[in-house]
């Protein structure tokens, strides 16, 4: 029976191949969409953890989240150093990570901070940042690179680098007299940290020493040696990541910061803001899922139409089979086996296609968005989707099979066209 079915499929390979391809595409699409959705959400909600509040100048919660965590867009305003000081002094607050953004190096964001960043910043499942090589910044001109930065630019420890003002890919003017040095390289995290150049707050100040008037004047620069002897005090930062002694105080502290009198500030709970941001993306994600469901449906409709279209020409074959002893059940089975083989073929091909897509897509997503997507075995949801498709394919294949079964009973031995 199986070899009969197989031969029959082989004989109809062009249409069979089309049916398999249609199913494979839909399987690959729905699996990939599912995976991207899941991994993106995981990777997304884990970009920052262990931080209780994110504080910035008053703007939108999502905007604050975007620039402070994802390094997308720019802050409209800064937080003055006095405010930072006031916040740090509050009794409920355990630690504060200052973040100063606004500069770039070869297209990567430069992030000014202090050692608290490396001590308190957490991502994923409460993971701390770790150095792969070298050490944290010590000198004004030391820089700690995210893993992607080092990998893409091919930087080694102790290498000199030039940091530019502005955040464009091509900086207008490079701070030629700010010769930074790579002091350390971080291990990969799969978060935007990988794409940042970390320097001390003093380093940021040093970069801007000659920029107070908005433009540098040639020959008027201060030398690196001179700068080292100066006392650099940060005047403002872009955002703060805040950790509390006790999480129960989070709403009280949030309110206190939001109603701070000296300066309009905004404090958000990262979890809430991430959720809010995700729900924005979620619409697109749901639309994608619905589209891929439609594609699956179309694939199955195609399978049925291929089988049904073949049926008329196959009524003769059915009569021949019946005349040589095949039972109606055999006729039914033959078609069922065929549709099963086609569906399974489609699923297997679809899985292969899916891994190909994910393999290629993972590189792109990591480089563009810092989202990490790994090759994993299909999980329970995936298996359920696959099972659903397989069952749908079987049921769909039964329609023409039933039709053939009924016809093979009623036609007798007459060959009808």
């Amino acid at each position: 029976m199986i070899s009969l079915a197989w031969n029959s499929i082989r004989n109809r390979w062009p249409t069979a191949l089309l049916a398999v391809l249609a199913i494979a595409m839909s399987v690959a699409l729905i699996l990939t969409v599912e995976k991207v959705r899941r991994d993106a959400r995981n990777s997304f909600t884990q970009t920052v953890s262990g931080t209780d509040l994110i504080v910035g100048a008053r703007s939108g919660a999502i905007q604050l989240l975007l620039y402070s965590v994802f390094r997308i867009g720019n802050a409209t305003n800064n937080i003055s150093w006095e405010s930072v000081h006031d916040i740090k002094e509050r009794s409920a607050i355990d630690w504060v990570i200052p973040i100063s953004l606004g500069d770039s190096h070869a297209g990567f964001r430069v992030l000014g901070t202090n050692h608290d960043y490396f001590t308190h910043y957490r991502y994923g499942n409460d993971q701390a940042l770790q150095l792969a090589k070298g050490e944290l910044f010590d000198d004004v001109f030391d820089a700690v690179l995210g893993s992607e930065v080092a990998a893409q630019l091919g930087y080694q420890i102790d290498q000199n680098m030039v940091v530019a003002h502005g955040t464009g890919n091509v900086a207008l003017v490079e701070h030629e007299r700010s010769p930074f040095r790579v002091s350390g390289i971080l291990k990969p995290t799969g978060t935007p940290v990988d794409k940042a150049v970390h320097v001390s707050l003093e380093g940021i100040e040093a970069m801007h020493l000659d920029w107070r008037n908005g433009a540098t004047v040639r020959g008027e620069g201060t030398s690196a040696e001179e700068i080292r002897t100066m006392e650099l005090k940060p005047t403002a930062v872009t955002a703060l990541l805040v950790g509390l002694n006790s999480r129960t105080a989070v709403f009280r502290e949030q309110r206190a910061i939001n109603t701070y009198r000296e300066e309009p500030l905004l404090a958000v709970l990262p979890g809430v803001a991430l959720q809010e941001l995700w729900s924005l993306i979620g619409v697109a994600e749901k639309a994608l899922f619905i589209i891929s469901l439609c594609v699956v449906f179309a694939g199955l409709v195609n399978l049925v139409s291929v089988l049904l279209a073949g049926l008329n020409e196959r009524r003769r074959e059915m009569a021949v089979l019946r005349s040589t002893g095949a039972r109606p059940v055999h006729v039914f089975l033959l078609l069922c086996i065929e549709s099963t083989v086609l569906t399974l073929g489609g699923i297997i091909l679809g899985l292969a296609l899916h891994y190909l897509l994910v393999g290629a897509g993972a590189v792109f997503l990591r480089e563009r968005f810092g989202l990490s997507i790994g090759l994993t075995l299909p999980d329970k949801t995936d298996l359920m989707i696959l099972a659903a498709i397989a069952i749908a394919g079987l049921v769909a294949g039964m329609l023409p099979a039933l039709q053939a079964y009924r016809k093979s009973l009623s036609d007798g031995l007459s060959q009808r066209l």
Binding site: N11, V320, R322, L413
Partner: protein, 250 residues
């Protein structure tokens, strides 16, 4: 093997209609074919020849009456037993499209052996295998040996019909039923086809029920029967037609 004295087909008081409340297509008080007989059955188109063959092959079930074929009372068969009976005892040849396009010539011929242990056993008793026997029959049907592993779609219609005969004959079923097997062939090929068919039917000691419109062929058979003479339903039909024309006349 069929005893030549006992009939291979014995039909009594058989009535068949396709659907309830439609006129009878078959109404046969008595009809028999004796073992080893080669019978030529003719009748106008639509008179129920193919329907009768379907009843004999246990594809269709009559509303009343009995048909005993190769000693098996068909009304005692249930479900799959009918299919088993068919492949065990009857070799069928159609007007055309006899072969499965997705199987090779050889596989087409061997096909009944896949479903019938009886045919396999017969071949084994002859000291042969299904493939060898198929090859022998194809050769006897004068098909070039290089065709056997080819796709059936590359065969001429005459060649296809001969492959179909080889398939009907493999494993020596007691009864060969052929429904207008020659209607797609030209006159010369027809005679040659009949020669080969007769020779192998004889060799297998089978009976032959042969339906055709071609009266020229009928002389070569042991007996020729017009379905009208045995089927009262067909007579009624023609009578009705006749009275219609009579009434239409002024």
């Amino acid at each position: 093997m069929t005893n030549n004295e006992s009939p291979v087909i014995q039909i009594n008081d058989l009535e068949f209609r396709w659907k309830a409340n439609t006129p009878l297509v078959l109404n046969i008080p008595e009809f028999s074919v004796s073992g080893g007989e080669r019978l030529f059955l003719r009748g106008p188109s639509g008179s129920g020849k193919t329907t009768l063959l379907s009843v004999i092959a246990a594809v269709l079930v009559p509303q009343s009456g009995t048909a005993v074929v190769t000693g098996v009372p068909l009304h005692t068969l249930k479900g799959g037993q009918k299919d088993q009976f068919r492949v065990d005892h009857i070799g069928l040849v159609f007007q055309q499209f006899n072969l499965l396009p997705f199987l090779s010539v050889l596989d087409n011929v061997v096909l009944p052996c896949k479903f019938s242990k009886k045919r396999r056993d017969t071949i084994r008793q002859m000291g042969s295998t299904a493939t060898d026997e198929a090859m022998r029959l194809l050769k006897a049907m004068e098909l070039p040996p290089n065709l056997t592993n080819q796709s059936v779609t590359e065969l001429s219609v005459g060649q296809q019909q001969r492959v179909a005969v080889a398939r009907a004959l493999i494993g020596q079923p007691e009864l060969i039923i052929a429904d207008e097997p020659t209607s797609a062939l030209d006159t010369d090929t027809r005679q040659a086809f009949l020669d080969l068919l007769f020779a192998e039917v004889q060799a297998a000691n089978s009976s032959l029920l042969f339906v055709s419109h071609d009266v020229d062929l009928s002389q070569r058979f042991d007996r020729a029967v017009d379905l009208k003479s045995i089927n009262l339903a067909a007579q009624a039909l023609t009578d009705a037609n006749a009275s219609d024309t009579m009434r239409a006349a002024p």
